[in-house]
Assembly symmetry: C2
Homo-oligomer: 411 residues x 2
Amino acid sequence: MIRYAHHFGDEEIDTTSIERGFDAIKEEMNSGDVGYYTLPVDSQTVVENAKALMDEIDKKYNTIAIIGIGGSSLGIKAIERLLRPKTPNAKKILYFENSDPISVNQEISRLDKRHTLFIVISKSGGTVETLSIFKRILATFDLKVERSDQIMVISDEGSILSQFADLNYLRRFIIPSNVGGRFSVLSAVGMVPLTLAGFDTVELLKGAQGFLERFLARHEDHLLKKAVFYISHRDRLPINVLFAYSDTFEEFGKWMVQIWGESLGKRNIRGERVGLTPISLIGSVDQHSFLQLIVEGPLNKTVTFMRISESEGTIMIPDISLPFLEKSNFVNGHSFNELINAQCMATMKSVIESNVSVDEIEWLSIDEYSVGEMILYYELLTSTAGALLEINTYDQPGVEIGKKILQEYFS
Amino acid sequence: MIRYAHHFGDEEIDTTSIERGFDAIKEEMNSGDVGYYTLPVDSQTVVENAKALMDEIDKKYNTIAIIGIGGSSLGIKAIERLLRPKTPNAKKILYFENSDPISVNQEISRLDKRHTLFIVISKSGGTVETLSIFKRILATFDLKVERSDQIMVISDEGSILSQFADLNYLRRFIIPSNVGGRFSVLSAVGMVPLTLAGFDTVELLKGAQGFLERFLARHEDHLLKKAVFYISHRDRLPINVLFAYSDTFEEFGKWMVQIWGESLGKRNIRGERVGLTPISLIGSVDQHSFLQLIVEGPLNKTVTFMRISESEGTIMIPDISLPFLEKSNFVNGHSFNELINAQCMATMKSVIESNVSVDEIEWLSIDEYSVGEMILYYELLTSTAGALLEINTYDQPGVEIGKKILQEYFS
């Protein structure tokens, strides 16, 4: 269960824009041009296919190595981190993302070749970091590719990586061509590794589908209102902060930054630069870092406070009174969960009092259903905002120039 | 060795403001009101005092647990992460920061009571997260406090935590009262744990002092120019991005976010809200996330590209040509270090071409001297920017309201 509330002040949210946003989503969905809307249903088959492999994989492997970057890793990491406390016995997942030599060395040294299943993920199939690391792993461990059941591929149908997989008779899963990388976590990209690792992906997809249906039935209009508020105030409020109170939101925050930043930072149909800048913070830690800027700095930010009312694991602050330190006794006998929730609410109150536009998202607990819901929530929020900005939410033309220049450096 | 370069376009940087910034720093330093300027020299004694304990501590402990948050942990983490690849045998450091019950449980379960030295760090001495976790650890491990050589305290002279330490005859180090928490990493806060862990803090202080001396001798005026550029364009460019190409900059980025955000987000002497919003990115990973927004989104950001020309650990991309994947062969036979450097330079070029204000910081390698230099660099940059904004760079009045409301929740 997730509860949403807005504290945007008294202003009326323009109903025409709300309807325009909703109609745009429906149109995208019905046209079939944007494929993520049907993933919560379509991926049920993907999960079944992954489950059919589990007996074999459970016997052979205790670790899954993901070789992928950006949309091919952020969503998996986000879900793993959120659900790990509830699923401690799921297989270990290692991530090979960055071309950083220190990280590549370090992660390779942690690998146990015999017990690791390698999953290579790239939508286009040509990601330079992913292919370079894949080659490095092949060479270091002298892995045979042909007919290997230790290497799996997830990519677009017909991509160069998919063709490579077929040539070598590797197991292969498809990313639907109408699903962009950063919207792909509920496709095979996330569902295959997470299912194989032992996470409850069936329930995750249910949570996503449940939210989508309620949204389409107009029972989640708060999302449309928030998108309209953000877009109509984008000149005054160009920065959107997610302030999430649990370390387990760290990777979710990075996933959110990608989907929001890369989807909305675009030239619109009139060629103007538009976009909103996402920032991910973790409470209470960032109360000691970024909060001062929110409270007293320029009023150019919205802030979303996220908290978990009932966290995994009860741990109490003992009822100990230490001489000279009695001023901290006011939390004695309470749980850390109570403390962090109270910190979130107190900080939120102080931020609202300093005239910042705030909304809150309260998770009753972190479970698979809620994680699926939150993914759909941010995807729909992004799509609605993109439609209102009159941009193509699903491409990323700005990153191509750098890739071209990179090739020139090596030629 | 660190090389600095600016690509701010043809605009002349106002020389009056440059002199005003420099004079303000000199005045702060000479007045003695701001204490971090003398830490590179003063902390030499702190390091010596820590070293005098090392024989004893090496025999007893292989792990250091830091109990601290914000300015009492971010800097230590930043330095540890950067220098760990060069100092793999330094003692393990565990961090107890957040009031997050999942993290507290998890970190406590990783503790080996017998071989862990606990260092409690809080400038004010009253940080609720720190004291709550400290009590939790005392109770869980049934630790005796009185005359314990397993518990150390770092705090302001005369703080409640220092008084508690003295009452119990604990080892104790002082944070000078004129050094703010977020400027304290070169005080005992960072120097004691890092020295005890086995990092070369002598060289680190040398790097800091070296940069300070060159700055004062006007050999590092690029810093003043950058501060003036940032402040004079703050309405148009309210966001400052640090795009650092190595995973080992992740914690440094968080340290930078704190010092920049919390120092500059203030009401100025006329009561106006001022400040600049820091964002920390990691390359190449965030090329697949945030870059699109920089290149095509609103021109409201500056970007600092940071890279390491010679990284620790040579690891090559093997000269393997895989069928269908030949388009990635252009990096074959090159090192990952060459790849990530070329990615940084190519991306920087593409960002400059899209009219973003860019500067670059190139580390020859990550060594102690350079890490010390970079800490002083960001501290001086922050102080100069703060002086130009006519604010108190060193307080954080905006976070007090939330603390008060928190107490009310529990009363």
